[in-house]
């Protein structure tokens, strides 16, 4: 089964996204921070990573770069509270970002993206 990794600090968003991914027939790993990542996770190839960018002790851009570097994946979606235009531009300036969704989010859009790319 294809796998999706969801990283969100906000428990409610995390659970909702996990559910969204599961009903779309993916195997979902949902964690609240990178600390919860196991070695096996770092070796499995994720179809999608859906992540926040605001975590303690690390700058948003650096976080994205780190995720891109250490976890093998095909598509990266950013779902975050930090929706300022400046951040959005900076994130898109990075390579290989599939989507950027700022709160308030329309879950149907995210679902459509997942279905379109998978």
């Amino acid at each position: 089964m294809r796998k999706v990794l969801v990283i969100q600090e906000d428990l409610i968003i995390l659970k909702i996204l996990e559910r969204l991914v599961t009903v779309n027939h993916f195997d979902c790993k949902a964690i609240r921070s990178l600390d919860a990542l196991t070695i096996e996770d770092q070796q499995s190839d994720f179809e999608f990573i859906i992540t926040d960018i605001l975590f303690e002790g690390i700058a948003p851009l650096e976080f994205v770069a780190q995720v891109q570097e250490i976890i093998p994946h095909k598509n990266l979606l950013v779902v975050t509270n930090m929706g300022q235009d400046k951040i959005k531009k900076e994130i898109f300036a990075l390579k290989d970002i599939t989507g950027f969704y700022a709160v308030p989010i329309d879950l149907d859009e995210i679902e459509a993206t997942i279905q379109a790319y998978s």
Binding site: D10, L11, I12, I13, L14, K15, I16, E18, R19, L20, T22, V23, N81, V103, P104, I105, D106, L107, D108, E109
Partner: protein, 350 residues
């Protein structure tokens, strides 16, 4: 001090220390339990919301089951702190979601506790619970309490009044401007900004009918609010309303008008009117703002600037001279300043 006295002293100190340690231990245990209870509520709520939004048809999540689960984690009438925590989670969740799922959530909220918690709050005596209750009512869109909330729009407490006014904007949108002439108490600058932003977020399409009715207000804060709305929504047809207030006797109304007019570019005729206004406004700070606006938004009108240079407004002459100097009329500025000296004096220029 005798030996017995020293012993007694040591015993006292020890007793105090022991009591102190015990109280620390109790609070630590209490906090740990409390944190765990809150975490449990959050987990349960997150699970309920996610399953409700994406319901599994083979194993549907029923409302009765939701209520049972909430009850099991301590959401009961008597336990107000837990209920308050749940309300906070509900509001936070609703704010993060848009589209169809937003309406699904709204439907869910109508069927689970706390059914009446917000309404009970607004019937209380203290201003803090009232304001909080009103806020919850509009944040969670409980429009059934609309009439109750509206009663507070002239409340003597600024926070209650503030939340009630925002609730009106949330529930009624542009139509809420209808009440503007009847408001008796001041709307502060922050509140004006909040109202404008809320209106812009929730009702981005202007309804001129209500705006025009509100023009009748004779309250100064009302006029300021309307000008801010015109500015935010860029209503070019309504510019005359702002222009009318450029010469208002009240300093702050004028200030708001000047601030708002700066968003718009004006036709030549209107700019001529602003130039007239500039000459009549008595306050040098506001004149400077107008001068800056005129300079940035119209072609260089040499006659106008020269008139100012040769006029009697000393405070702004330097600004006027600077504009002329930087826009190719250096010699006119020189001429003006030279003529201030007697003809036979020795000017140290070439």
């Amino acid at each position: 001090m005798t030996e017995a006295g020293v012993l007694l002293f040591i015993q006292c100190v020890l007793a105090i220390l022991v009591i102190y340690w015990i109280s620390i231990a109790i609070t630590m245990v209490y906090r740990k339990n409390r944190m765990r209870a809150l975490e449990r509520i959050e987990h349960t709520f997150a699970d309920i919301v996610s399953r409700y939004l994406y319901n599994n048809e083979d194993d549907p999540l029923l409302i009765s089951e939701i209520n049972d689960r909430l009850k099991a984690v301590g959401i009961r009438k008597g336990n107000r702190n837990n209920v308050q925590y749940l309300i906070r989670l509900m509001i936070r969740t609703q704010r993060t979601i848009l589209g169809e799922n937003y309406y699904k959530l709204k439907k869910l909220y109508a069927q689970i506790p706390p059914y009446n918690a917000s309404f009970t709050k607004i019937s209380k005596w203290g201003w803090y619970s009232r304001a909080r209750g009103i806020r919850e009512i509009y944040e969670m869109n409980q429009s059934q309490y609309m009439n109750e909330v509206f009663k507070f729009q002239n409340n003597k407490n600024v926070f209650v009044r503030r939340e009630a006014q925002i609730a009106m904007v949330v529930f009624m949108g542009w139509e809420s401007l209808r009440f503007l002439p009847y408001l008796k108490r001041n709307i502060t600058l922050w509140q004006q900004i909040k109202i404008v932003e809320k209106l812009y977020d929730l009702y981005p399409k202007p309804e001129m009918k209500w705006l025009k009715r509100a023009y009748k207000t004779d309250k100064l804060f009302g006029k300021k609010l309307l000008m801010r709305i015109i500015r935010k929504f860029e209503l070019h047809t309504e510019i005359p309303f702002i222009m009318e207030h450029l010469e208002h006797p009240d300093y702050e109304v004028r200030e708001t008008a000047i601030y708002c007019i700066q968003t718009f570019a004006l036709s030549t005729e209107r700019m001529d009117y602003i130039k007239d206004v500039y000459e009549r406004v008595a306050n040098p700070v506001q004149q400077a703002q107008l001068l800056n606006y005129i300079y940035e938004n119209s072609d260089i009108d040499v006659d106008f600037y020269l008139r100012q240079l040769h006029g009697d407004n000393d405070e702004l002459k330097l600004n006027v001279a600077e504009i002329l100097w930087n826009n190719g009329h250096k010699e006119k500025v020189q001429e003006f300043y030279y003529q201030q000296y007697p003809e036979n004096s020795n000017l140290n220029v070439e």
